[in-house]
């Protein structure tokens, strides 16, 4: 009993610290590492809740694969951020979160859920083992299982499509091509309605490395009528 309590508190503190670290650390790389800590703590909590397989999956998939992916991307993209102006949400954001937290706690404590005050149902050996979860997946939850696999396929294809480089064109040219397709005048396209009619041959733009590309319309003042 005491042992579980101690482990619980350590894991809980680890999780919460990790969470705070994700949110508060400047460097995104450090945030990723904080999240990894959080994930491992959460795995410990899962173990305490007798969810062995879920804990293992958490460590392998989440902390193992997903975080590694994150690390790669952060390394590629890099960059810290300037927190100069965040608008009013810098103050209001934490406030909203706090409000939500209080409300959830009230909900839990004041609602008087019966099972919440116990330690849970009597333990059945085999609860949470891969064997019983596998049985569940292949009988009762077959459809979600299959759907999830299709989802994975879709996501994989999507990621490849999103991030690939087309042959022969520089990405900025390709972008311009996508946006400034010459259309016949007065066909009533949205571009025309919003005042974006460009002549068939857009003026050549030279790009400087690292300079943000002017998106169409970003150099215009915001117009109310544009639609």
């Amino acid at each position: 009993m005491v042992f579980t309590a101690i482990v619980f508190f350590i894991a809980a503190i680890g999780a919460i610290t990790g969470a705070f670290g994700v949110v508060l650390l400047r460097n995104p790389f450090y945030s990723v590492l904080a999240l990894a800590v959080h994930l491992v703590s959460l795995a410990a909590l899962f173990l305490l809740l007798r969810a062995e397989f879920v804990a293992a999956a958490q460590v392998i998939v989440y902390a193992g694969a997903v975080m590694v992916l994150y690390v790669f991307v952060v390394a590629y993209v890099g960059g810290g951020e300037q927190l100069a102006s965040g608008g009013v949400l810098r103050v209001l954001g934490p406030l909203f979160a706090l409000a939500l937290a209080i409300e959830l706690c009230i909900a839990m404590l004041g609602a008087g859920l019966k099972g919440v005050n116990s330690k849970g149902a009597p333990f059945v050996p085999g609860f949470g083992t891969p064997r019983s979860l596998g049985e569940q997946f292949l009988t009762k939850f077959l459809f979600p299982f299959e759907a999830a696999s299709i989802l994975l396929l879709v996501a994989a294809v999507g990621a490849v499509v999103l991030a690939r480089r087309r042959r022969g064109l520089e990405p900025d040219e390709e972008f311009e091509r996508q946006v400034h397709i010459p259309r016949p005048a007065w066909t009533g396209t949205m571009a025309e309605a919003g005042g974006l009619t460009m002549p068939a041959h857009a003026e050549e733009r030279t790009y400087v490395e690292g300079e943000p590309v002017a998106t169409p319309g970003s150099d215009r003042p915001d117009q109310e009528g544009g639609w």
Partner: protein
């Protein structure tokens, strides 16, 4: 086959002819379309004669027959049926219409040769004859209105037949608009009559007029006045007459058929058919008679100064119809219709002859350019003389008998109608003068250039085709009017048609010689049996007195014209100088065009422009359409502000809403 079956066949022939020609319009070789059309109308005439024979075979009491093909009675209890009424009046009319139409079709076969719109012309002409026959055969108000409208449409199509001429299209529109005014009157009158009697069929209405309307009461007078509006618009009486002279823009056979013999007589037919109503509302009948009289005088005076030969004849038509309207409004039904018949003969003849001389002048219609065609166009000259004498009322031609039949009746009725009768005699004098002015100017004195050419056997062709009214050059590459100009001397169909009419104009009067026979009166008696004037007969003595006076006036008119235009040349120029004001007044046609333009056309155009700019653009465009869209646009712009594009604000919104929902569930569960 009964009389009504023949009646339906009379209607069917021109309709089939029109459709047949219309569908094959580009394919009929040569003049085949013309022959088909003529044959269709001739067949219709044959059926009309058969109808007559069948009708005469019945006893006089049973000579009003109706036959219905289809019942439209589907709503509001209006008993509208596709029915025709075959009775002496309608048979009389279909005989006149189909007979004269046959001859005019025959004439047109050669007159319109080489015109690219040849088939179109004959399709329209057949359609017109069908509409006119429908009008006179209609057995109820609804079909009458249908026929009325069709006739107006056919008139429009044929007036602006050479539609590349602006003057022609404008004339067509003018005719149509004025006709529409008449249509409105007719329709509203029908409403009033239907409202009181509950039926639109003629015979039941006529039988029940006395119960439903008070004698000379407001409803019946208003209804009859509106019917008069319709009749006056169609028959070109004052003040709705301004379209007829302009309608001369159409080809000459069209003027002959529509604007002399048939369509313009539709008003006379209407009043004659509705005689029960008019006798029950004497006020309206008197108004009609005065209107007819006014027209008679106005038209005769204007015809004195017109220089376009077709317009002289058009005003003459207007004047003669004034006689007819006067006649049927005061109760001289058979006299009025007798004059209608004879007028159809000699007026169509005059128009055909005018077409011949216009052909000799290669399209020029002005009397000022014509002279001395006597030797060059002998046949046309004789036709003109016959038609002119008949028109002027010279014995023993038909016009003499018919015109004086009317005037005699007027004198017989006495009272105020005597004055109308005297005005009628004055009009007859003027008729003689202007008719023979036209003939003497065109055929006597020194031959003009074209006449001389023709004497040598060569038909003059103008170098440049010109619009007869404005003189401007025309583009004939469009194919019409055709390049050919035809004179009666050289074209057999024209000769045949004109000779037939000439014979009829001469002997047509024998059917109604006072004291000897009154075939028309007796024939029409079943229709007019319920008229209070049916037994009013002018006795032979006063009738012959009137005829003698009429003859003297005619001779006087011809001799005055002879003196002014043949004997003492230059008299007319001196007269114009002396009475210059009157001359200007008359040559502007009593300023009716200008008055109507000022009173009606300009305000209408102004209103139209106002509505177009202010109402249409300002109110409907600006307030309603643009207003609605700008409200929607403003609303959507306001809503669009929520879409800022900032991810964090969206997330904040979501968190707040989740908070709200959870709060709701929390509160509702406690």
């Amino acid at each position: 086959m009964s009389a009504t079956t023949f009646g339906w066949l009379v209607l069917a022939c021109p309709l089939v002819g029109s459709i047949l020609i219309g569908f094959g319009y580009a394919r009929w070789p040569g003049r085949l379309a013309g022959w088909i059309a003529t044959f269709a109308i001739a067949l219709s005439f044959v059926f009309a004669v058969l109808t007559l024979i069948k009708l005469l075979g019945m006893s006089p009491d049973h000579r009003q027959l109706t036959s219905s093909l289809w019942n439209y009675d589907v709503s509001a209890g209006v008993d509208a049926k596709l029915e025709i009424l075959v009775d002496p009046l309608s048979v009389f009319m279909i005989l006149v219409v189909s007979g004269v139409s046959t001859l005019i079709h025959l004439y047109s076969v050669s007159y319109m040769t080489d015109d690219r719109g040849y088939s179109r012309y004959f399709s329209y002409l057949n359609y017109f004859v069908f509409s006119m026959l429908l009008l006179v055969l209609a057995g109820n108000f609804v079909l009458l209105i249908v026929g009325w409208a069709f006739v107006g449409a056919a008139s429009y199509l044929l007036i602006s037949f050479w539609y590349r001429r602006t003057t022609a299209t404008r004339a067509g529109i003018k005719a149509f608009v004025i006709n529409v005014v008449g249509d409105v009157g007719l329709v509203i009158a029908t409403f009033i009559i239907f409202g009181h009697t509950g039926t639109v069929q003629f015979l039941p209405v006529f039988h029940s007029i006395h119960q439903h309307f008070a004698y000379n009461g407001a409803p019946i007078v208003v209804a009859c006045l509106l019917l008069l509006v319709g009749a006056f618009a169609k028959s070109a009486q004052v003040p709705l007459h301004t379209w007829l002279p302009d309608a001369m823009e159409g080809p000459t056979p069209v003027s002959a058929l529509i604007h002399a013999a048939t369509m313009v007589t539709a008003g006379v037919y209407l009043i004659a058919r509705m005689h029960v109503l008019f006798e029950w509302a004497p006020t309206a009948a008197d108004v009609g008679a005065i209107g007819g009289c006014l027209t008679l005088v106005l038209a005769a005076t204007v015809a004195l100064v017109m220089t376009d030969i077709k317009r002289v004849i058009a005003y003459s038509t207007m004047s003669q119809i004034g006689y007819m309207i006067m006649g049927v409004c005061v109760g001289a039904y058979s006299a009025g219709l007798f004059h209608l018949m004879t007028h159809a003969f000699f007026k169509a003849l005059l128009f055909m002859a005018a077409g011949s001389i216009i052909g000799a002048m290669s399209g020029d219609q002005s009397l000022e350019h014509m002279s001395g065609f006597r030797k060059a166009l002998p046949f046309t000259f004789v036709m003109f003389i016959v038609g002119g004498l008949a028109l002027s009322g010279m014995p023993p031609f038909s016009g003499w008998l018919s015109k004086d039949d009317i005037i005699g009746f007027l004198d017989h009725r006495g009272g105020g109608f005597e004055i109308l009768g005297i005005v009628g005699y004055a009009g007859a004098l003027l008729t003689g003068i202007y008719t023979f002015r036209m003939i003497f100017r065109a055929f006597f004195n020194e031959p003009c250039e074209e006449a001389r050419e023709l004497e040598h056997g060569h038909l003059h062709h103008a170098d440049v085709p010109r619009n007869p009214m404005t003189g401007e050059e025309e583009d004939t590459d469009v194919g019409f009017p055709g390049p050919g100009h035809f004179i009666a001397e050289r074209e057999m169909p024209m000769k045949v048609a004109m000779s037939a009419l000439a014979v009829l104009a001469v002997i047509g009067g024998v059917v109604q010689i006072p004291g000897i026979d009154d075939a028309i009166t007796r024939f029409l008696e079943p229709t007019f049996a319920d008229s209070k004037y049916v037994h009013v007969e002018v006795s032979a003595g006063p009738a012959w007195l009137g005829l003698v006076i009429g003859a003297l006036i005619a001779i006087a008119g011809v001799s005055i014209a002879y003196r002014i235009w043949v004997r003492q040349r230059g008299t007319s120029a001196r007269l114009i100088e002396r009475f210059h004001g009157a001359y200007v007044f008359l040559s502007h046609k009593w300023y009716f065009d200008e008055i109507i333009d000022f009173l009606i056309v300009r305000p209408t155009l102004w209103t139209g422009r106002l509505v177009a700019t202010t109402l249409e653009r300002g109110v409907i465009g600006g307030v309603v359409t643009d207003g609605t869209t700008s409200v929607v646009r403003a609303g959507s712009a306001a809503v669009r502000r929520a879409q800022t594009g900032f991810l964090r604000y969206y997330a904040a919104l979501m968190i707040v809403c989740v908070f709200g929902v959870a709060l709701y569930f929390l509160v509702s569960s406690t």
